[in-house]
């Protein structure tokens, strides 16, 4: 589904922060992306999410060479990827329902065609009673679940999560992990960027370890 070949990344004229990345992400797979702070996890996630372009190498996603895509092409490809940010990035003026349905609205779908689906997903992630709540009054865990729901509402083939348990207590972190596992079982490939060893020990999955800009894969 996704393949990196000899990918390198540097910011400006600085040193390479990512070097000689060669790996793939298969459909329906589950993997943790880990490494010490500053190892380049977020940069790698941004490469996967097409908001950064490599300074060298080839990235192939869903049978497309990303270097050959224009802006609209990248936006279209990004619709097949869901992302969960550490800081949630919910829009404060939209209700939970409107935040979660935002991708479908952006894709130009009529609300009547997705309303039931969004409500169902909100119930599924435990926000059935918070449909009309605005993000500022949601708890951290609720925000995180709303962000996850928004990331998966369009049924992406790949789900990226950047430190999804960074802002929640360990108990909720475990429950969110189970949510990701279930999403993976429903057919979505999952990449969770984390440096939470305890979280990774909860589930036996492939580990992509970044160290000094190089990636080590432990299947």
């Amino acid at each position: 589904m996704i393949r990196f070949e000899n990918v390198g990344l540097r910011y400006g004229l600085g040193p390479e922060v990512l070097r000689d990345l060669n790996f793939g992400i298969d459909s329906h797979s589950f993997q943790f992306l880990t490494g010490p702070s500053g190892a380049g996890k977020t940069s790698l996630l941004r490469l996967l999410f097409l908001t950064l372009r490599p300074t060298r190498g080839l990235i192939s996603m869903f049978d497309h060479d990303t270097a050959s895509l224009n802006k609209d092409g990248r936006a279209t490809l990004r619709r097949r990827i869901g992302i969960v940010f550490q800081d949630f990035r919910l829009l404060d003026h939209l209700t939970t329902y409107e935040n979660v349905s935002l991708p479908l609205r952006v894709f130009g779908k009529d609300e009547a065609t997705y309303r039931a689906e969004v409500v169902e997903l909100l119930h599924w992630v435990g926000l059935g009673e918070r449909i009309d709540a605005l993000p500022p009054i949601l708890s951290g865990g609720e925000k995180q679940r709303a962000a996850i729901a928004r990331a998966v509402i369009a049924r992406p083939q790949l789900l990226l999560a950047d430190e999804p348990t960074g802002n929640v207590d360990p108990n909720l972190g475990q429950r969110l992990l189970r949510l990701f596992i279930e999403l993976n079982k429903s057919g979505t490939a999952v990449v969770i960027a984390t440096h939470d060893i305890a979280l990774m020990d909860e589930y036996d999955a492939r580990r992509l370890v970044l160290h000094e800009g190089r990636l080590h894969v432990y299947d």
């Binding site: 999410f49 939209l94 409107e98 952006v106 689906e117 409500v119 169902e120 279930e182």
Partner: protein, 333 residues
């Protein structure tokens, strides 16, 4: 397969039953309450939005006032030139050996015979003497002085008379008469009016430029608070055109709202002035005001220009927002 609600799994710790995969087929059995209309993606009523509308309203009002003032100056200058240009005079000098009354009558006859003349009026001897009183004083016996006689000719609307021919005829038939078409005075008046109009237009250009810059910066300021929205839309797969369109529409409406308030205020003001002027027309105070300020009406062209400024301000806010969105997207990508 039993249906387990994942919400229960997420709600509390304890035994961890795995939830069923999310499957929207269950929604067919769910009862869904009617939902209110969705909020706009760009927040409709925000402090920055209201501030921007206020800036647009104030700047449009000032630009509209300037436009109206310039139009009044242009109208007044045109009226001055027109009034002076509609009148010429013939001066008949007393010359020894010639009967001035006969010369005056001959000059009046020649003038009346010319094309493009609406009215000819010869000043009497007494009236001519009164004309020089401001310089010589009153109570003097001016009867013995060689006072020239004036003939005032009002021109008919339309093409100007043949002044060259009239001057030649006068020179041959009434050598003591000279025609003054006020060309020198009109030229000076025209220069002054042109300078006043140019200064007014210059000020208008500066005011419109300042308005555009103010609105541009205010729009950029308002857009800065919307950067998170641009980013989120970008991350959920919106194309640049979609994002720019959302903001452009929103800011077009904000600009129109501000422009209509400011420009509408100015239009109302000029409308009131025009109505008051019409109401006072013919009265002593109305004549005084007309003498001081000229015609205060800005006319249909003026109202059209102000309406155009309202649209211009709305367009400036919309295009600035689009430009800022594109800049933001460039910085994200």
């Amino acid at each position: 397969m039993s249906m387990i609600d994942p919400a229960d799994v997420l709600a509390e710790a304890g035994p961890d039953p795995m939830p069923e995969p999310w499957d929207n087929r269950r929604t067919a059995t769910m009862s869904l309450p009617l939902r209110p209309a969705q909020s706009t993606i760009v927040p409709g009523d925000s402090l920055t939005g209201r501030s921007l509308a206020a800036v647009v309203a104030i700047m449009t009002f000032l630009a509209a006032l300037t436009t109206g003032a310039v139009i009044m100056v242009v109208n007044a200058a045109t009226d001055w030139q027109s009034d002076v240009g509609r009148e010429v005079t013939i001066q008949v000098r007393p010359v020894s050996g010639r009967n001035i009354e006969n010369d005056v009558n001959a000059a009046v006859a020649i003038a009346r015979a010319s094309n493009g003349i609406a009215d000819v009026r010869a000043y009497t001897k007494e009236e001519s003497e009164k004309l020089v009183e401001p310089w010589l004083g009153s109570g003097l016996a001016l009867g013995d002085l060689p006072i020239p006689r004036m003939i005032v000719i009002k021109l008919a609307p339309g093409p100007a008379p043949d002044f060259v021919g009239l001057r030649k005829t006068l020179a041959t038939q009434v050598p003591s008469a000279t025609l003054d078409d006020h060309r020198g005075w009109i030229d000076r008046m025209r220069t002054m009016a042109t300078a006043a109009v140019a200064a007014g237009l210059g000020i208008l250009v500066l005011v419109v430029a300042v308005t555009i810059l103010s609105v541009t910066f205010a729009t950029r300021g308002a857009m800065a608070t919307n950067r998170p929205i641009v980013e989120v839309l970008h991350y959920v797969g919106a194309t640049d055109g979609f994002i720019a369109g959302q903001f452009q529409r929103h800011f077009l409406m904000l600009g129109l709202k501000g422009g209509l308030i400011g420009g509408g205020g100015a239009l109302l003001l000029f409308g009131i002035i025009t109505a008051v002027d019409a109401w006072l027309a013919g009265t002593a105070s109305g004549d005084e005001a007309a003498a001081l300020f000229g015609n205060p009406s800005i006319g249909l062209a003026g109202f059209g220009a102000i309406f155009g400024q309202i649209l211009l301000m709305a367009a400036v806010t919309a295009l600035t927002s689009r430009h800022t969105v594109n800049e933001t997207l460039k910085s994200i990508d």
